[in-house]
């Protein structure tokens, strides 16, 4: 990533953004696939550690970059895991879109006060809530499915807090790190 320190010009700075997005997306995809390899103890519950990357990018480079990273992660991740356009992909994509919207809203409403933990919890709850509604509407249109909501949302809150603490730690380390370690 040494190239990012080269002299910025109009096209160079655009290229720097692209490289940032590609690099972080690659990191997020790696985490995504690593997580997919672990069997989930409970159906529908996943730590969602790839969202750490989204939150870190959001806080360092803004919503636009974070949206790119998340979108690429869902797209490329599903291609690599082999779930592209499957129900899993629809769930994953709708959750990611909801999480990004929640992050955008949180930033617009309370961006000055919120830290990584708050963003992460917002994103996790939006992610889980939307997935539940999508699953209910598209795949299992039975009202009993909604009874799982408190259970799944509790899991989302716990994992959101865990991801948030990780993201906050990563951000603190990035802020404290020497110049080449940043970005």
């Amino acid at each position: 990533m040494a190239t990012e320190n080269s002299m910025p010009s109009a096209s160079e700075s655009l290229g720097r953004d692209d490289r940032l997005i590609a690099g972080f997306a690659a990191l997020a995809i790696a985490i995504h696939i690593l997580e997919a390899a672990f069997p989930s103890p409970l159906p529908g519950v996943k730590p969602g550690l790839a969202n750490v990357v989204t939150v870190v990018v959001l806080l360092r480079y803004g919503w636009y970059t974070a949206a790119w990273v998340a979108a690429l992660r869902v797209l490329a991740g599903s291609l690599l895991v082999g779930t592209f356009l499957s129900p899993t992909f629809i769930m994953s994509a709708s959750g990611a879109v909801a999480a990004l919207l929640a992050l955008w809203l949180a930033r617009a409403l309370a961006g000055r006060w919120l830290g990584a933990l708050g963003y992460s919890v917002c994103a996790a709850l939006a992610h889980m809530g939307t997935q539940l509604v999508v699953a209910w509407q598209l795949f299992i249109p039975h009202p009993a499915l909604l009874n799982l909501a408190p259970f799944l949302l509790t899991a989302a809150l716990v994992f959101g807090i865990v991801s948030g603490v990780i993201a906050a730690t990563v951000l603190a380390k990035l802020d404290a790190g020497p110049e080449p370690a940043r970005a």
Binding site: A106, A110, W113, L114, G115, A116, L117, G118, V121, C122, L125, L146, N147, A149, P150, L153, T154, L157, G160, I161, G164, V165, A168, T169, L171, A172, D175
Partner: protein, 125 residues
Amino acid sequence: MNLVRPADAVVVALAALLIGAAWASLWSRGGPAEFAEITTSPASSGGPVVLDLGRDATVEVAGRMGPSRIEVRDGRARFADSPCVGRLCVHAGWLSRSGQVAACLPNGVILEVTGGDREFDAISF
């Protein structure tokens, strides 16, 4: 920069509150009852006696063995006394959640609280 900012704590607290409300609304048992319905066997003339749980009252219902005294207080209802042997109906205590039933079978008097959200459509023993 602190790892956790005050606003983060607020977000977590709000989220916990929301989830708590979801647990409460989806996993709690039936809501508070609104009426007490007293059925006798053989059926009394005029059908079951219906009492508003919002109004405290004590009524006596004639059963096979004698009068059962049913008390309504603070939105709950109970058998205060019954002429049966074991007093199982009295020991059933206060009924407050919609769908709960207490019965004095020897005397043929059944007390059920209904109205509002019910946990079950019916209970059979």
